[in-house]
Symmetry: C2
Subunit: 405 residues, 2 copies
Amino acid sequence: MVKIAIIGFGVVGSGVYEVLRKNASDITANANTEIDIKYILDIRDFSSHSESHLFVNDVNTIINDSEIEIVVETMGGVEPANSFTRSCLKSGKSVVTSNKELVATYGDELFKLAKENGCKYLYEASVGGGIPIIRPLSKCLAANRIDKIAGILNGTTNYILTRMFNDNASFESALSEAQEKGYAEKDPTADVEGLDTGKKICILSSMINGEKIDFKDVHTEGITKITTEDTEYATKFGSAIKLIGLCERLGDKYSVVVAPMLVGNDSPLYGVDDVFNGIMVSGNMLGDALFYGRGAGKLPTASAVVADVIDIAKNKSDKFIEPWTESKTDVLVPYEEIKTSMYVRVETQDASNAIKFIEKEFGNGIKCEIGCGEFAFITPADTISTINNKLSLIPGTVLSKLMVL
Amino acid sequence: MVKIAIIGFGVVGSGVYEVLRKNASDITANANTEIDIKYILDIRDFSSHSESHLFVNDVNTIINDSEIEIVVETMGGVEPANSFTRSCLKSGKSVVTSNKELVATYGDELFKLAKENGCKYLYEASVGGGIPIIRPLSKCLAANRIDKIAGILNGTTNYILTRMFNDNASFESALSEAQEKGYAEKDPTADVEGLDTGKKICILSSMINGEKIDFKDVHTEGITKITTEDTEYATKFGSAIKLIGLCERLGDKYSVVVAPMLVGNDSPLYGVDDVFNGIMVSGNMLGDALFYGRGAGKLPTASAVVADVIDIAKNKSDKFIEPWTESKTDVLVPYEEIKTSMYVRVETQDASNAIKFIEKEFGNGIKCEIGCGEFAFITPADTISTINNKLSLIPGTVLSKLMVL
């Protein structure tokens, strides 16, 4: 039997409890041992809970109990999750987390601490919710050099963009609808400004780099400026607009960026709609593989947390290897030097003149769609700075600019 | 350093050699040790190969060499792969395979032998080529009760069906095209009759059942009877026709079947085209997840084999747990008792009379498409035997019948 504690009884934490109770017999069979919840830490009052005797409100009860082998951290946020996790690891307890913010911010230090103390720090649920991505990336694709990861990593923004694309809704009304359905928070900043996606792509990028890639250094754009005009032009170009976390290997550097991008209908990511996530991984031997499913939600995320608990309980003798260490080398290609095609929408009273200019600057035969008092086109691939320089001279006002995946 | 031998230097075996050579530094880093090829067994002449000194033609050279820790079996077919694998396992060497036929036929016995001899028998590459599916199913989804697996598991038939669906090609011409492109073998029986898909879905079914599910007991239909008329009706019903390996949990029984099925455009499998594979797994906590990528091909498949080699080299102390044991209980629902909707195409000179009959038997408001001298409809869900009984009375000739996924 393996005794565990759950720290934080919110959406995911209570989901972990539910998964362990509902699938108890399957989980015991898969883990080859029983998983027993000894404590649940939450400062709120759960005295009317059917298993109220499990609840404690002092983390030291857990840290000082030598019976506890695994701690599930589902508090979210950096503090106090960070201090609690460090204390657990220092006392030799393995920690399993769904906390993308903590993993993206202090993952390198926490992995090191786990290794030093002969325990583990696992984080499958921090990216892609219930979709298996961390373990496949580190284990199943271990024979590949990973050249690219492009992911729709945030269900909230994907729901909003799907409503805008399929039903011609405005950003504002799609956001309201997402809030009504409980997909978006009252303060939707972390989702719609791309911060959530940023942390997740940095976790995946750090894994393939082997050293930390910090989201503070990553160019991050949200979806708040996307208009129905943009989604209409995207359709005309045979594309959808998706918020993409992108990591691409360029020699020994990486371009990592979070931005809404045009995704062509020949991409497997094109059809990833609503609250679903899709993560495309390109290996130099494998080619492209897509992982698709519910990237959030109580039970899917909790089931990924519990899978990590089972892994630790089952393979106690397994050595823990740090997925990444602190950053020693600057591996990021500056945003302006990233090479990409761009979708550009321009307001002008003289479209034919402006298009002549574009053909002179970007070459003939460029894809162009003309609207009322404006037009849109897709540039050939070049560095973002070169494209921006050319666009600064355009006879008209650039209304929007989006990378093409 | 871990010394390995490759048995069978065909497409996958030579791919394993190539992956190990090309990605040597990444692989050493991921395995935390060097993987060294000491022998390659093949009875053909490789004296002009740049590393001809590696080639041997007596399996005992490998079996009797105590330095060899891992043997890669990429021969395919049951014999002599089976005898060779047994000898290796008996001498305590772990075996990694891409051989779906051997795993489906004798997996239970080989897992047992591995366990008894303190070594491992891994088979990630036997299903889905380079797509990670075996490890995600056993590890990442360990907290879920798997309720359903529906997979497009054979690239050859998917290519043929995609050509028939998108370009209105006949089965015969699409098959010829697949043969010209090297996607289909000269004798395409194993692919087009569903035998390959059958072995793969039985491997996945055995994993979730924990006891062997034998493909000899599974109802298996191929795609040779699909006509362009069927693909046209499928389009009208908002569906595509895909060869599906299906395993569905029904209480403590399973319905396992291989057949071409109508897949609606709301399914993530609908867009899985050409030689790609897609495997949809439904967990009781996770909901649906899709794994998508190249299900065959030299390097993708070889990279999955090498991932298993890395796993063994890296985690030597890991206990091997048998994924399934011999069959003790009959868990299969007989084909005739499987519940499903059916697409049915009927030849008749009197469509309005036949449709009246159908509405009487199957209920009003049934989806129906009328053609020239024939029509097609989709039945409500019922057991296959009940549907067949009703269809036997229809005033017309049933031309085709397909399950609806």
